[in-house]
Symmetry: C2
Subunit: 713 residues, 2 copies
Amino acid sequence: MLSQVQEAPGAGLDAFFQARGIAVIGASDDVTKIGGRPVQLLLKYGYAGAIYPINPKAGTLQGLQAYASVVDTPTAPDLAIVAVPAQATLQAVRDCAQRGVRGVVVLSTGFAEAGPEGAELQAELVRTARHHGMRLMGPNCLGVVSVPDRIVGTFSIALEQSIPPAGEVGIVSQSGNIGSFTLRNMADRGLGVSRFIATGNEADVDVADGIAALAEDPGTRIILCCMETCRHAGRLTAALEQARRRNKPVIVLKIGATEQGQAAAASHTGALTGSDAVFDAVLRRHGALRVRSFEELLDIGHAAALLAAQRLPSTDAVTLVAASGGFGIMMADAMVEAGMTLPQLSETTKALIREAVPTAGTNNPVDASAQMSARPDILLKMLTALQDDASGSTLVLMLALSLSNPRLRGVYLEALAKIRASHPDRLLVIISQGPADAVAEINALGIPVFRSIPAAATGLAGLVKLGRLASLPAAQPWRGEAGTIDPLVFRNEFHAKKALAAAGIDVPREEVVESVEAAVRAARETGYPVVLKIASEDIAHKTEVGGVALDLRDDTAVREAFARIMASARQHAPQARIDGVLVAPMVRGGVELIAGISRDPVFGSVVMVGFGGIHAEILKDVAVQVAPVSEDEAQRMIRGLRMFPLLDGARGTPRADVAAAARTVALLSEFACRHAAQVAEIDMNPILVKPQGQGVLVLDALMVPAARNTPAP
Amino acid sequence: MLSQVQEAPGAGLDAFFQARGIAVIGASDDVTKIGGRPVQLLLKYGYAGAIYPINPKAGTLQGLQAYASVVDTPTAPDLAIVAVPAQATLQAVRDCAQRGVRGVVVLSTGFAEAGPEGAELQAELVRTARHHGMRLMGPNCLGVVSVPDRIVGTFSIALEQSIPPAGEVGIVSQSGNIGSFTLRNMADRGLGVSRFIATGNEADVDVADGIAALAEDPGTRIILCCMETCRHAGRLTAALEQARRRNKPVIVLKIGATEQGQAAAASHTGALTGSDAVFDAVLRRHGALRVRSFEELLDIGHAAALLAAQRLPSTDAVTLVAASGGFGIMMADAMVEAGMTLPQLSETTKALIREAVPTAGTNNPVDASAQMSARPDILLKMLTALQDDASGSTLVLMLALSLSNPRLRGVYLEALAKIRASHPDRLLVIISQGPADAVAEINALGIPVFRSIPAAATGLAGLVKLGRLASLPAAQPWRGEAGTIDPLVFRNEFHAKKALAAAGIDVPREEVVESVEAAVRAARETGYPVVLKIASEDIAHKTEVGGVALDLRDDTAVREAFARIMASARQHAPQARIDGVLVAPMVRGGVELIAGISRDPVFGSVVMVGFGGIHAEILKDVAVQVAPVSEDEAQRMIRGLRMFPLLDGARGTPRADVAAAARTVALLSEFACRHAAQVAEIDMNPILVKPQGQGVLVLDALMVPAARNTPAP
């Protein structure tokens, strides 16, 4: 890895956000050029510090005194925006270092994204910057904006017409275009923005820096993040935990969810993407809400900004109200599909609603009929009854075309302002397509407005999740000591299971024997019935070489089976080194799980748990998380499986020992962390989960050694 | 059922759409009243025929001559809009009949939706109308609009500001509000509307009438339909087939998909909703595209209207183009998740793209970089290469913020107009948030514009489906003769299976015996190993009473088992009438399916097929369709199951005889239709599906008799 960053995420980023003096290296009079745009925008939006255009010709540029080099500027700028061709960037960065610049944004392209030569140049830039204690953003990036400070270190067309109002939404994005699109959309919705960071190639400053800087910024209350990949897992998770500590919701649009999307991401960023499922698990664990589309990012981001962390819904209960039965049905469908619940209203509430609106249907969804909007006082009376209802649910009011009608618009706005004043802590959201100025008025009351029923359903479900994620305990990275392990574990299942047993995992009593008589002795000690399996590091698929005998019930059967297995193995796998035959008890009943460890290129050791067998294989019914996981986390993983009812007493079967299964997964994950330098992969298949209180047994296990020099996770 | 309608769907609806003369009964001078609005709107939008306001006071109303009764009008109006209180409607309808009116829209409320008294009044309205050969729309409805004819028989606020342009989109909705919302949104998107029908209580005219009338209307090219329930399955499917024959795509927003939504629908419409899964299957079978949200209805409806049936995409292949890698990744994710495929471009195409845009990444998604929009000729060159590409895929171009930039807008509009002219038959869609006038310009070229990446993905997938549905052969209703069946089939599995075998379904050789010796004889004839099962109509769960013995390998085992089963059954179920013991071969191997018949309150006999066992039960992995199904349909049902890979050679297992399984399901469905009067439910569980070419065996079956007087499906 290129960047062996020492700093904590976010360190030194004040050079970008609180710069006293900005140099634009490669400045131009032509405002369509990337070196012309930042000068123009700094002037246009009223940056208060010194602006130094740097251009070999010096003279005057866009009305400002220009300098041939940054070393010539009358004061030392904190920040330099570099917009010269790639070959000239190294000299520019050296000049910056000489002049005492603290932060450099390299907008130029032609670096790692362009090939090995560019990558080398990029590495040299970073070395230079680090050597002089400078932070470097980019290259190949859209740079930085601090709205309150009017710092515009970007050439994004999102700022061409106007700068958004200063506000509480912070944006950090790898892709400049997606970041710009987010900024523009937030501004179009009338939302204020605090800071914008587009990290591009992330040679030094990365998304984690951005999240951490926004977490520490008193002006930012909510963080929107777009990412394609992660180059430093530990920095990302540390930054997410920092945001959680500061009580700032983080919403992440992580793109590249499908194989095709990941292939595109790999070719776009040149970085390994890792498993999307692992990314998902990591974000959830560290308190960030992952969204699936740009629209969700904007909708949930907008609503979360209006509600702030203090007012996120604490329940998935919603009370739905529309003037039409049809819309009520559509809302009920969408909300239930998004995982929300529809509690019934109390009899008191129902009576109060009927008092206000005699024609109303008072089930949830409430069919309030057109009568509800006949007069503001009628509407207010109904809304008051609903907001006073004991269920404490979020009230969702569908307005369809109403706000386009001047009379109805007046009714709604009057009643909404009053209900917000009387019930400031109760949650209320609106569904309406507009018009935009009516939506803005409602937003100004602190009431989120979703454009459509599906957006409201996804949005509310997201807000509920965001609230829950914030309250989870912070996840801890592995801090145990590395252990060493006997390489015998890679040889056969017997040794693999012995090592797991030493780590506290339950395995059957087993023995590897080399003779018929030893097999009979071992079988008697184990207790009949038993199974015999060939023990060889060279034979992965034992059944295929006739290497397994099940349900052996007496000495004779064991003798026959031992001879048959050895002969068959020698015949079918003449080259195999054979350690002998494993004698184990024949175990039946219970439900079969599988668990394992694999190595993710981004996040390191990952633990997986799922159901065994062909059904689960077809359905890919597995859960993953970065190791180690606690027993609680492992329980949540198991309980989140689609087939979980199989462990939970489906169709009259006894409930399985889920706690023991979770303990086994947690122990496996710790084992993997302890031995990460030596063990790359572990498979436990099957794990027999017995009825509650009776534990589990790992019936088979396999370990794969790490390639030499594999770094610890 | 109330309405025993004789007419084919759509018959007589010209009275509504081509009315020469309209009476408004209960007309008012007050345009905020439901009797004032139609008069106002007919005048405002320039209806060319006679308008007769009817009001007991007669005189002048909104500047028109009013009459005390419709019988007094100088000419006979074709259409009457009734807006009097419920109690007065019957007289109004009688007057209409007397005057020779042919169609009546009853806007008034207080009928079936209000309780039994209202239902009786509604029934009387229908009897009166039918007796005089009139069609009746409503009551409790938002009525009818024919845009080209300026017929406005509604008080919908969607028409308060303006009437949409006349165009090719027909709208039929049960819910007036949802219909109005659709109309308004279509108009706001600049799309023309042909006719609007809101059927309300559907005492006479129903959604099927509306679909059929739109299918026959030469001005309508696409039909948007919103429904909560269906009151006449046969009429609905006939109308859908009519639209398919006329090559008019039908897009249906069927609401009430969840239990909670259905409960709301039941309380809103007072009608049985039936199973949502069956509704889904019926719509698909009869060529209608079911959408899941209002936004999908509008988006897909809009695109389909622009493309018309002739230009719907014939492939699920898409080529994705964006100026930014990040957007490309998002598009790839969304398209793949929606079921689209991303073919690679040919080397020729790639070279041509690089010739036009040297910085472009030429994989799919194409990362065309900002260069693509530098000049119209560059963009056109690239688009030409893409549209000429041999894959024939649909081209999807992401414009993000570009259309908001005046220079870029010019570049795009020029190039898009040229590419449409040079490649009129190739498909191209745009993703852009606007501005609205730019979108309208692009739409005017016949190019669909989706607002977001997810909308484009769902929309394109919907358009592909719509094209495929149109080309499926029309589904035929059951036309076979009813059969009679020996009531013994309800007694035990032996007789149930005998009846199925007589219908051509493969069952094991079996015999019911009453003595030990007969059991041994039967076992020998069957061939060992055999199973024994208690045969009794009173014992449903045989295993629980010790009534099953498996894998009996010789005479002795059969003797023991017979005695044990009889004793155990007598002990555990002393009241049960026992027919004897069933002797059957012990069958192993193969994959287990289940199939069955149930009775849907809307659609009648429904056939189900799915996987057996606890996994499938938890996952609810079943497919349903209205009986009968053809073998082809049954194959599609089985192949659509999530666990289908189990039958298709997953993990090296032999491929199963899917054709035989499909044949069995088809035969079962025909059997159910033939015996619908006697048999309400059938369960075949399990069906053993053997390897390809070896057929299936129905190992167990159960039939439940129909309640007396159950109507045939």
